[in-house]
Symmetry: C2
Amino acid sequence: MTTYNFAAGPAVMPKPVIDQIQAELPSFQGSGMSIMEISHRSALFDQVISDAEADLRELMGIPANYRVLFFQGGGTLQFTAAPLNLATKHHHIGLLDSGHWASRAADEARRVGTKVDILGTAADNHFTALPTLDQPVDQALDYVHLTTNNTIEGTAYTMLPQTGHVPLVADMSSNFLGQQYQVTDFGMIFAGAQKNLGPAGLTIVIVRDDLIGQAQNLPSMLDYQLFADKRSMFNTPPVFAIYAAGLVLKWLKAQGGLAAMEQRNRDKAALLYDFLDQSKLFTSHVKPADRSLMNMPFVTGKPALDAQVIAGATDRGLLNLKGHRLVGGMRASLYNAMPKAGVQALVDYLADFEATHAKEELTDVSN
Amino acid sequence: MTTYNFAAGPAVMPKPVIDQIQAELPSFQGSGMSIMEISHRSALFDQVISDAEADLRELMGIPANYRVLFFQGGGTLQFTAAPLNLATKHHHIGLLDSGHWASRAADEARRVGTKVDILGTAADNHFTALPTLDQPVDQALDYVHLTTNNTIEGTAYTMLPQTGHVPLVADMSSNFLGQQYQVTDFGMIFAGAQKNLGPAGLTIVIVRDDLIGQAQNLPSMLDYQLFADKRSMFNTPPVFAIYAAGLVLKWLKAQGGLAAMEQRNRDKAALLYDFLDQSKLFTSHVKPADRSLMNMPFVTGKPALDAQVIAGATDRGLLNLKGHRLVGGMRASLYNAMPKAGVQALVDYLADFEATHAKEELTDVSN
């Protein structure tokens, strides 16, 4: 049975990348050692990490005055590192409250003594739309934190809020490389790898070099300037995860880069949203203009029926459609590596389910 | 050509583990997804992490009142986390200065405002022997930090210093699972995986439960109590690295456990040390009683000759023998996954090199 993995992360990776990892596993580049066994100080790994950075720079158009850093610890560690490194002048940041992960970022910033102003919230809309700025941004903030794509709530920014001279810091974890942004619109971008880039255990930080180097005496594993100076190899980096991410970046280039990938993602997303919008059974509650290209929560409105939808999907090889525990229902994540055929299979299944369900309802009523 | 990888870390892994990873890569447990693509909230991964913890507990004899935590960020992140979590009463720790990594630990502890007393140093011996306690340990310390095995200097503790009621915190990164210790002799043990446990990107923390939960308002990614409460899944853990480490733990059990493994490691180490001690060309400067079972630095005394030794070894498939940049010369790391045949091949090569070199010297003299 062909299976399609709709998980929100860790998530589907490109099949050719999995195949290449498998083929190269016993002896990386003829070295007699697997990629897991080679030194991070070796010429072999130096090529891996240099290629990964160069390919990422090419794909995203990252200018020379931005540093690309390879961290561990997921987006969550950056919730701590970003204020420690960048909120050094005012110890005060702004944040757009677009959902769970934005709220987590605010919490971690406060834990390290940073004052956090909520500049706008989507709580009134139950996070089914994006927050907008309540008023012009106070220019005495170190930065404004933004979650470009809200994995749980299914919203994403296409237009960015205007923050004047205050830099935007973006948690791009769940639409990194899935949608194009202009890097120069941000002071910093970070992203956990386990959505569109590769296996869990790697986090990318892209940061404008004039914003770092101001913090004193940071723990080394949170120090952007140190990581920049040491090319992310102050200690042993996650070698395997960087290697796998590097292969995904080469695959992305072979697919035509981010413009082509975004177009494909728009086509895939349209296929599912168009179905949901005409469906009498399934609903997306998210405001159309704010909808994510990556994560689509939807519901029938009845938890027991949602459970039937999910069970039936699993039987057909349509995996991991259960919604996040905070919102329930279903969620389909359509990352870069999800082929259009997977989305079509999902839509076909949902249409079948709806038709069968409508007949059953009719029978129930006529009985 | 058979190759043997003597790297200090990332390092050799057991061949059967590499084979199993390769075989299972396209579809983990028949799921249709690779291990990199499965959710950390899935039943599949729950089994992986539960097995890894249970197997580690069995191998090391970890009592129920110790928690086993899975972190990212290497030993270096624990240099920060350990004082933040455990040095909450006196903000004051002791440390035995046994070499580079102990010194790094002291530096990171000081960065987070912890006072660090050096209780003994091996600096006078150029770190070729272990430091001992200069005097009885002040009982108003939160803990004493110890590096059980010094990867660069080639020393390891067999006997532990007596610290009274003050808990020992051990950085066991480079002899974790390679040598037996009594867990109850420590308040906490931590270890980066990339020596004896698996790929880089995973760090194990084993901590006595009464020592944690005292710290307030820590960054989540550094909070032992939170990681204990969330079974190391507050955010996405490094799924692949935990899976690979789990396979290594099963392999270790199949090898007879840690007692058998330590005996094998003692035999391998003796093979190399016995050769070095009778050699007229090669020297280990490390005090015999303090020698590591894992990492053996040695020299000819002439850097140009060391370079010849290393180049010749590489030609024979004896890889990564170059010493650490801080000490030069050669270093052979004989972790669990290094077969005795590899050590024998190294000793045979060194003996050949010595014999050839002796003849050349003789020729040079007679010319």
